[in-house]
Symmetry: C2
Subunit: 377 residues, 2 copies
């Protein structure tokens, strides 16, 4: 029932190889023949079988995108950017969700391995050694995790944490909590490290609460702890948790930013919709998606193909993998969930402790994110 290259060949009176060339190397076939073949193909509704093509060329023109949780609004912009970038290069993206489950991640890499030309591993939860092992099976680009020897796209959450802590300290907060993210998250570790350093430098105390599930509920569940900890400011692992915390504090009757200031990370679109609007560290999510696809496709063109069509040239060059690591910048966006703390006005007053008036608002639009720098290669 499905029409193959053979049917087209029969219909147009040429050999199947000519039909094949009509599609994959049109310049090699006589214009007259070409139009005839194309007409027949059109007539019969022929579409090249990509799986069969992949079998011999070693190129599927698909890339896999493994995501911890599609429901986390952090990811969709990344997915969309990756998809549009891939489409430009005539690639398709297959997205798979792991439910924050390390075992599912491994499973999926294996399942995808032979059906895609490479995989983007976003915010993986599995161990470094397992990732390295899997990278021998299929080209990998890792997002939100630093891994020696593998191409990585990172967001400078360390810098973001620093900015956030400095912002809070500048507002007069000295007792700050950090709501940690999920176990196994590189971002969470990085955030904690940088926040610790920044807090020490600013003379503030940092209490770490967690690990927590990186969801609204994870934040909500910590509201009680936050109140008990006696802190006046909180930096959350991500916006979702920050928003949950906002909810939880509201339910407990704790005023934000009156009694407690809250800062998130990611700047998901939702963070503009809460009351109060969320101060947050904007991460360049879309840029990360684009960059990761670029790096994967770059690596892909460098690498020899697996099919019989492997060029001798590629072999001569050897398996020289590009392992560039890109760090993308983050930026603090100040909205309404942060306000003066108990030490407002004392020492390092600066521009921040400008009285009880309205806080600085982020300008509503425009690009906020700088281009990434290559950090290592």
């Amino acid at each position: 029932m499905p029409v193959t290259i053979r049917d087209v060949a029969r219909a147009s009176g040429v050999h199947i190889s000519t039909v094949s060339r009509t599609f994959s190397a049109p310049h090699l076939v006589n214009p007259e023949t070409r139009v005839r073949v194309l007409a027949c193909a059109e007539d019969l509704g022929y579409r090249p079988n990509r799986a069969a093509r992949a079998l011999i060329t070693g190129r599927t023109h698909n890339i896999g995108l493994i995501i911890a949780d599609i429901a986390n609004p952090f990811f969709p912009p990344l997915i969309k950017a990756a998809e549009s970038q891939a489409r430009h290069r005539d690639y398709h993206v297959f997205v798979a969700d792991t439910n924050e489950d390390a075992a599912a991640e491994e499973e999926l890499v294996h399942a995808l391995a032979k059906q895609v030309d490479g995989v983007l591993l976003c915010s993986p939860r599995m161990s470094n050694s397992l990732i390295e092992q899997l990278s021998r099976e299929v080209p990998l680009v890792v997002v939100n995790r630093q891994l020696a020897g593998l191409p990585c796209v990172l967001m400078d959450v360390g810098q973001g944490a620093r900015s956030a802590i400095e912002h809070l300290a500048g507002l007069g907060h000295r007792e700050i909590a950090l709501l940690g993210g999920p176990r196994g998250s590189w971002t969470s570790r990085e955030l904690r490290r940088a926040a610790g350093v920044a807090a020490r430098a600013a003379g503030a105390d940092l209490t770490v609460l967690g690990p927590n599930p990186p969801t609204e509920h994870g934040g909500l569940a910590q509201a009680e702890q936050v109140r008990r900890a006696g802190v006046t400011a909180v930096l959350a692992y991500n916006d979702l948790m920050a928003i949950g915390l906002l909810e939880g504090l509201d339910a407990l009757g704790v005023a934000v930013p009156g009694e407690v200031s809250v800062v998130g990370v990611d700047d998901i679109s939702l963070s503009r919709l809460t009351r109060p609007k969320l101060t947050t560290v904007a991460t360049p999510t879309a840029a990360a998606g684009r960059t990761a696809v670029d790096m994967l496709l770059q690596q892909d063109t460098d690498l020899p193909r697996t099919g019989r069509a492997s060029g001798a040239a590629a072999v001569a060059v050897g398996v020289r993998r590009t392992t560039a690591q890109v760090m993308l910048q983050t930026e603090l966006v100040i909205r309404d969930s942060t306000g003066p703390g108990p030490y407002a006005g004392r020492e390092r007053s600066g521009a921040t402790a400008a009285g009880p008036g309205p806080h600085r608002r982020a300008d509503p639009g425009g690009p906020r994110v700088a281009a990434g720098d290559v950090v290592a290669s």
Copy 2:
């Protein structure tokens, strides 16, 4: 470099067919041989090439999921439910985003056709006739669109609209606006139809505004129109638009629900987080995902396979497609964005016009969605 069945055969001293059987029909091979082969496979890190397998069996064990917009929080629960249901049956799901673009939808169906065993088309934007045509290329299940002769999973938004309008009319609203969804959306048409009927029955006027992009911004952009239309209540195409409208009205200084009541559709998790919390028509998104996968896989096992392995039995049965259409129930969840209207208390007072006190709150948890009914088959 990649290890194939042949390498395993060589290593374990058997024919490739024995290796093949070790994986796909273990009971046909001697236990001793089996363990030896498995050991060798393990040693060499062999993994069956699913693409090659698909070429001959005609079964990829993948299903495609085409989504209008991953960033719309309506979809992730559907995706996750579909994914988990598929995983149970040893299938993988490839998600693709079309950016609300009909042309991209067609593109993607073609691209996926030979790499999956079937496609779930969610809230498609393309024409019925095109969908029908594509369904000849690959098994299709359509979600959120009724289409004769094709298996469909629908949500009873008509009933939802009716409940919403009755709720509003009961609260004393007589001038109601409907914020329409995107052009080409079956749900939007259905909503409009049912809302019109219900409004007439309740003696209320219905003003339709739209079509609009089904996003937060689409709702926000209509705030001005809503105010100008002089309505006291609005039913929005989905929660995202309702939330945008909440924003817009807030910016215009219009109180919700004091001056205008707002109802959304979908009950995305976000709708519990707005101020005021959103009254909305809950749609059984996860159930839809599960059901759609079930229907697709059902159809899949019925249909003869394309590969040479096609059983004669299937042919004897003939191409009997299951074209069941399932309608899932919706339910109105009343929160804080709806309140008494100008005609509150006059006639049909009921339980709704209980003075200016707090409105009814939805209970926070528990299942709200009934199981689906088969409507036709």
